[in-house]
Symmetry: C2
């Protein structure tokens, strides 16, 4: 991976859990990078040119070569930079990491979204139920301090959204999905994760995020 300042660029927005995955990975690997703030209300030519399919952040540029999609980017950073690997090196553990990271994006994130960003009672209840069921699978999967063992790894990075964003969603909506009662192991893990020095300095500040998501939820009510 490029070592010189300015040769690695990350196009993103500060409050996104998907962008944050990439920030954590870059910091863990000690890669210097330039952060380019995207404006999703008025998407940049850079974004439209280099991620024409999803038109979403993050996009990482290494020597101008773009990679999109947060999990693909984190794997890419792992593949092309030195330092301890973030993905397990043993094939079976690696296979599980691929599986569980997809599970977070395909099951947990949509279920939580359904629970949080709706005014429809039935839809919300369905979202809560699906979230609880999905989190239980992850709770059962956690066998050590981190998913990566004693140190944080690929799956921990993928799951940051649960540790940091879901509690914010709960505070905004009053929902009780991810609590220490329901998921004691996962809750302890989340505290370890968000207090890990690299993760801590990578997370966007809590207050502006709270305010932002309050706005989103109030916007929903206003437009009903």
């Amino acid at each position: 991976m490029a070592k010189k300042q300015g040769e690695v660029k990350l196009l993103g927005i500060r409050g996104s859990p998907f962008v944050c995955r990439v920030v954590i990975a870059l910091k863990l690997k000690g890669v210097e990078y330039e952060f380019i703030e995207e404006n999703l209300g008025n998407k940049s030519d850079l974004l439209l040119e280099y991620n024409p399919i999803y038109k979403k952040v993050p996009v990482l540029f290494n020597y101008d070569k773009p990679v999109s999609e947060s999990l693909a980017i984190v794997k890419y950073i792992d593949d092309c930079s030195k330092g301890d690997p973030m993905l397990p090196t043993k094939p079976y553990q690696r296979g599980l990491a691929h599986f569980w990271s997809n599970f977070i994006d395909e099951k947990i994130v949509p279920a939580v979204r359904k629970a949080v960003f709706t005014l429809d009672e039935v839809e919300r209840e369905k979202g809560i139920e699906e979230s609880l069921e999905a989190l239980q699978f992850l709770e059962n999967e956690l066998k050590s301090k981190f998913f990566g063992g004693d140190e944080i790894g690929f799956l921990d990075i993928a799951a940051t959204i649960i540790a940091y964003w879901v509690p914010i969603f709960q505070e905004v909506t009053g929902l009780q999905i991810f609590t220490s009662d329901k998921f004691p192991k996962l809750y302890n893990w989340s505290q370890e994760l968000i207090n890990h020095p690299i993760v801590k300095e990578s997370l966007p500040p809590r207050e502006p995020l709270l305010a932002f998501f309050k706005g989103v939820i109030e916007g929903l009510s206003a437009s009903k």
Copy 2:
């Protein structure tokens, strides 16, 4: 990967494009395996126990250790068996292979499903439009005989559904989505792929698949 007969088991159904990905990967790597036919109408205890989240095939067992999800399984086979790698070894190409394989499952497959398995005119038109747009991105991405270069690789395996199943869907429904006129490069690629000796012997026979999907489509009409 297990070398002895019976130590690698694949739980699947013959007609599934996702199971077929795993079959191709195992054959490319010369791995002996036992195929266990699943009955999706009456799911086996094996499936419910080892893939409780998705309850879907394929599930691969290597020395009894299960891995689910076709793309995760193919990566796992690649990681733990000898022979030429299926995923690119260069990090950037590897990153792109991750990106494009997800694109197939997240964009192309849902768009084609929407076009094919509906009786709703508006929905179908939307599905066709999304399929054409998505296939165009893939057409632009194809730079050589195969996505993997001169030899088939991970992304070719992921895209088998386009080469073999989509034409069957078209024959059943009369839709024209993936044609040599619209996608000349992708069409040539599809012919190379389905005539590749390993792929050819891995594909389920065409006639029963045609009959099966005719049944599915007629079932849709009957239940309107």
